[in-house]
């Protein structure tokens, strides 16, 4: 794991997020936030024959929360919905590839927690 919290790839996702925007015909729209730091992410999910056909997100907040949301959309698009219901947080953290301090973990996991709320109705156990 890199020690550089703001390595190039994260800043790139922050400045030019993937799948950024809204889906007017989304099947599921889910907002998630961290009231303590003000990070907000809204996921727009379009389902297609048991798979996640398309995804968009909007959000505002710190680089970690927004870059991880962007990375998450790359990881989940096209995947079976059943699989995504239990999408492991560690897969997203590995993709981030940096050491996340306990104080910043809520930023890093906001998007994946929002995904689980979208698909299961709750975020499940905190990891």
């Amino acid at each position: 794991m890199s020690d550089d919290l703001y390595r190039e790839q994260i800043l790139e996702h922050y400045k030019n997020p993937h799948h950024f925007g809204e889906l007017p015909d989304a099947d599921i729209t889910q907002e998630g936030d961290n009231p303590l730091c003000g990070d907000v992410v809204t996921l727009y999910l379009k389902l297609d024959d048991g798979r996640l056909g398309d995804v968009r997100f909007r959000g505002r907040g710190c680089a970690i929360s927004q870059a991880s949301a962007s990375m998450l959309t790359d990881l989940i698009v096209g995947k079976p919905v059943q699989e995504l219901k239990t999408f492991p947080t560690k897969d997203l953290l590995e993709e981030l590839g940096i050491q996340i301090s306990p104080a910043r973990m809520k930023c890093a996991t906001l998007s994946v927690n929002t995904l689980r709320v979208a698909l299961n109705g709750d975020a499940g156990e905190e990891e």
Partner: protein
């Protein structure tokens, strides 16, 4: 008698063992004293000495070390009373912190004196500790909450104060905003509140550590503050209130120490201040607070305020070098205490705080327990730098350098 001493930050720093630490290989620059101050060895040592030499439950034993503990704990109360010019040490109630002091007033005075339809006047800049207790009381007794608004400089808008005080039983207001640094005109507001028949509670958590506070001169009715923001330990705070009010108020917590005579179905209350101090108190912390008062007294609080004002003046000027920065709070240094909040257009406060931490700089990022104020400012969070006796102007320079480095990362 406490020896007076000039406030030279360079010298003062040596009193604080923690300031010798290095963070991420860099000398620590601690700019979060509004959250909690660092502690001088003089405070750490008296607490250590209590535990090593005379740890005992005060107010109980007739043996030597219990009497020593009682004398030290009550001596600390006398120091605190002098420090804020209380009429008597009996008016100084030790609590756990400011929050508990405010909640004491809520449960004791509030429940007995605020009823359905009565008004509680607060401000938009209150810390949650001087907001949520009144929300809870208001919903319990069907009282109404009213608010004094701020202008774009973070100053209270007082044009309509007299009208807003109509029907108000209690005005609860911060002396100095922990987020904006605004120093509120407590004396003038208190005069108006009293003319309207309201009592005044002041949250002094950010004031007592940083400026001279004379509760009698201010004319207020309740004044709350914490030890840990004024070089003292955590776990000890103070409620000062007028003696006549305290005499008339019912107890807060029930238990040992707060009673005079207990029968199976009833009890009578101890004298002030112990009537409001149930259970074994925070003895070491009380003694530590006494030492913190002595520590600050050697400089004098006018010198502490002047020192911080110099730092704020310098920081307000230097921060203007940062492209795109928005600095909140008063432009007038006369009413701007030692805390400065700001935001940058492209860097979230959490990212900024993480990046400057790499340079060894500790600043606070977030809502600072003032979420309604964040809503008023139209931001989710700010970065806050706050100063104390041990901070130097070159630490402001380091902060500005750290911010500019962060801007390069995000450029």
């Amino acid at each position: 008698m406490i020896q007076t001493r000039a406030l030279n930050a360079e010298v003062v720093r040596a009193d604080f063992p923690i300031l010798g630490r290095r963070i991420n290989g860099k000398p620590m620059v601690y700019l979060d004293s509004a959250a909690t101050s660092q502690k001088p060895a003089a405070v750490i040592d008296v607490m250590d000495d209590y535990y090593r030499r005379y740890n005992a439950n005060p107010h109980r034993g007739v043996y030597t070390i219990s009497e020593e503990a009682t004398a030290a704990y009550e001596g600390a109360r006398q120091r605190v009373a002098r420090f804020i010019n209380a009429g008597s040490p009996k008016e100084v109630i030790f609590t756990r912190n400011t929050t508990e002091a405010i909640n004491l007033v809520r449960f004791s005075w509030g429940r007995a004196n605020i009823g359905a339809g009565d008004g509680i006047l607060l401000t938009e800049m209150e810390h949650h500790s001087n907001l949520v207790p009144w929300q809870l009381l208001a919903s319990e007794v069907s009282a109404r909450l009213e608010f004094l608004c701020i202008d774009d400089d973070g100053l209270l808008q007082l044009d309509a104060l007299e009208r807003q005080l109509d029907g108000i039983r209690l005005l609860a207001i911060t002396h100095q905003s922990n987020t904006l640094g605004t120093i509120n005109p407590i004396k003038a507001i208190t005069d108006a509140a009293h003319r309207a028949g309201a009592l005044v509670l002041v949250d002094g958590a950010q004031a007592v550590p940083h400026m001279p506070v004379d509760v009698q001169d201010l004319g207020v009715d309740f004044y709350a503050f914490s030890g840990h923001k004024m070089c003292g330990p955590t776990g000890i705070g103070v409620l000062w209130a007028r003696r006549a009010l305290l005499e008339a108020m019912p107890p807060f917590l029930g238990g040992g120490d707060m009673i005079k005579r207990v029968k199976l179905t009833e009890a009578t209350w101890n004298d002030l201040p112990w009537k409001f101090e149930a259970g074994t108190p925070s003895v070491a912390e009380g003694i530590g607070l006494g030492a913190a008062v002595d520590y600050l007294t050697q400089f004098g609080m006018d010198a502490v305020r002047a020192h911080e004002r110099t730092l704020v003046d310098y920081a307000m000027e230097k921060l203007q070098d940062v492209p795109g920065i928005t600095v909140y709070g008063p432009r007038d240094p006369e009413v701007h205490g030692g805390a400065i909040s700001f935001t940058l257009p492209d860097i979230h406060p959490h990212d900024l705080a993480t990046l400057v931490d790499r340079e060894g700089i500790a600043v606070r990022a977030g809502h600072h327990c003032t979420q309604p104020l964040m809503d008023r400012l139209g931001v989710a969070a700010t970065t806050r730098a706050s100063f104390y006796v041990y901070n130097r102007p070159d630490e402001v320079d380091q902060l500005v350098d750290g911010i500019q480095k962060a801007q390069k990362v995000f450029a």
